[in-house]
């Protein structure tokens, strides 16, 4: 808690650019998988008390594999792009793989050093968010909602 010096400012500027990386802005401007699924296996609503944003995750799961996903709702660029990126990342994955992704992504957001970045792929673009503690909840909203959906599906344990 001491006053930042000029070097610090340069670092902070860089952080902003890291927060809003091009891939994030792209997902924000052109979100993937926004359409709802007609008869989802499970559908779940999520809520971010900080900003009041709501999100809905629909899943179509067959034989333990996420065959389709849709994410709807309003939100900031971080929550929207995170939801979009998540939807791309999980389609075609098994429930177990999605669970590992959830674990890896939330660990990255908590600032853990011990995260398998290969596993996360494009999701790594959101790493910059962890420098902005209030925004972390934006980035994880879709993921927590997804996980609750999966827990509902598997009856409490996913």
């Amino acid at each position: 808690m001491t006053r930042p010096n000029e070097d610090e400012y340069a670092r902070q500027e860089a952080e902003i650019d890291e927060l809003y990386r091009e891939v994030i802005l792209d997902h924000y401007r052109h979100p993937r998988n926004r359409a709802s699924i007609e008869s989802p296996t499970v559908s779940r609503q999520g809520y971010n008390p900080l900003c009041g944003d709501e999100i809905v995750v629909d899943l179509l799961v067959n034989g333990g594999v996420v065959e389709d996903v849709a994410v709807r709702g309003g939100g900031c660029s971080i929550s929207q792009s995170s939801a979009s990126m998540m939807s791309e990342a999980i389609v075609g994955r098994t429930v177990d793989e999605v669970e590992s992704l959830f674990g890896g992504f939330t660990a990255m957001m908590r600032g853990s050093d011990d995260v398998d970045l290969d596993l996360l792929g494009d999701l790594e673009a959101l790493m910059g968010v962890r420098k902005f503690p209030v925004r972390v909840k934006c980035a994880t909203l879709a993921w927590h909602t997804l996980r609750e959906a999966l827990q509902e599906l598997t009856g409490g344990k996913a």
Binding site: P4, I16, L25, D53, C76, I78
Partner: protein, 423 residues
Amino acid sequence: MSSQNVSEKPTGPLDVGRIREDFPILGRRVYGKPLVYLDNAATSQKPRQVIEALVRYYEQHNANIHRAIHCLGEEATAAYEEARAKVARFINAPSPECIVFTRNTTEAINLVAHTWGRANVGPQADILLTQMEHHSNLIPWQRLAAEKGASLRYIGLTNEQTLELDGLDELMHDRTRILAVTHASNAVGTINPIGRLVKEAHRNGTTVLVDGAQSAPHMPVDVQAMDCDFFAFSAHKMLGPTGVGVLYARRELLDEMEPFLAGGEMIKRVTLEGATWNDVPWKFEAGTPNIADVIAFGVAIDYLTGLGMENVRAHEMEITDYAMRRLRQMEEVFIYGPPDVADRGGVVSFNYPDLHPHDIGTILDREGVAIRAGHHCTQPLMRILGVSGTARASFYVYNTLEEVDVLVEALGKARAFFSNDTP
């Protein structure tokens, strides 16, 4: 534009250049840019006089109060009670005994709901609120209603987020035990017609609590002229330290109310079987109070009184007027609340159709501009507005028109940054 070097001539009712020199934090830079602090409705900055009062207290007078027979204890007690007297004068309370110190506005309102509320609100009663209340003036009443089986009623809003007073007759009647209403909205800026509401309420035998968190810091307040029964506000929003709130109440109400918290200080006589209570206001101040911060709050009040609350109000009207004019010139920006600055405090809440307040906030932050983005602890109001939140700039005595320019320019950058047109 470092605040330390601002020496423009005073043009408005306040000599802002001079005032800014009293606020050390205004010399700070954020991301290399001068801090433009426009989050005053959340909490205000503190002048060095207030900070120095804390230092002076801890370096020279610190002691526990009211029961000490030593010199430090007497000095601390006198200073603490003098601060109470200052608060009383500031809002024109009839006597210092009507002033209870709490932690914040929220605790002050909870105190009323727990003590007066539990004793006076029954299953047949109505509790009347408005749709623009801060959660702190909403949830205590919801809980009381749930506990007592009382009914909640809400005064609705017009399209300009003023209170819809047509049909008030139907909402207010002889079973309406309390009307709890904000003096000025922290979310959209509306100033409510408290005088008229109190008159209407008292005709029905309804007690009135006014949430003054956004009025006491920004305009002259006279609780006797207003004729309200309870009035609550927070020191930290009016140049004072964190950790101090005020509950004003009519003396008769305080006298008949049960204590809230129990322990040291608030008692007369204690046996193993039970206790009798101290006189008001001490009956409501259990345990060691926030002595240092109460004393420093007294100094904040001196500072505001020195500026003159009429001048504070005039300055904020000027700056709000300018901000609204500048924002109206921007494409797409939608401003909430009444159009006339005479009807609003120094809060300007706005939205873009397709830009999320959080994103605005983050980009503005990068430009040194601190605003608030979100629901402002008024989720029901946001739902009525059909948004999850708004971006909010809120002003105080040290803000300048130039800072509004910085805000507007930064908004332009945010707009461009997130524009769909850019690749």
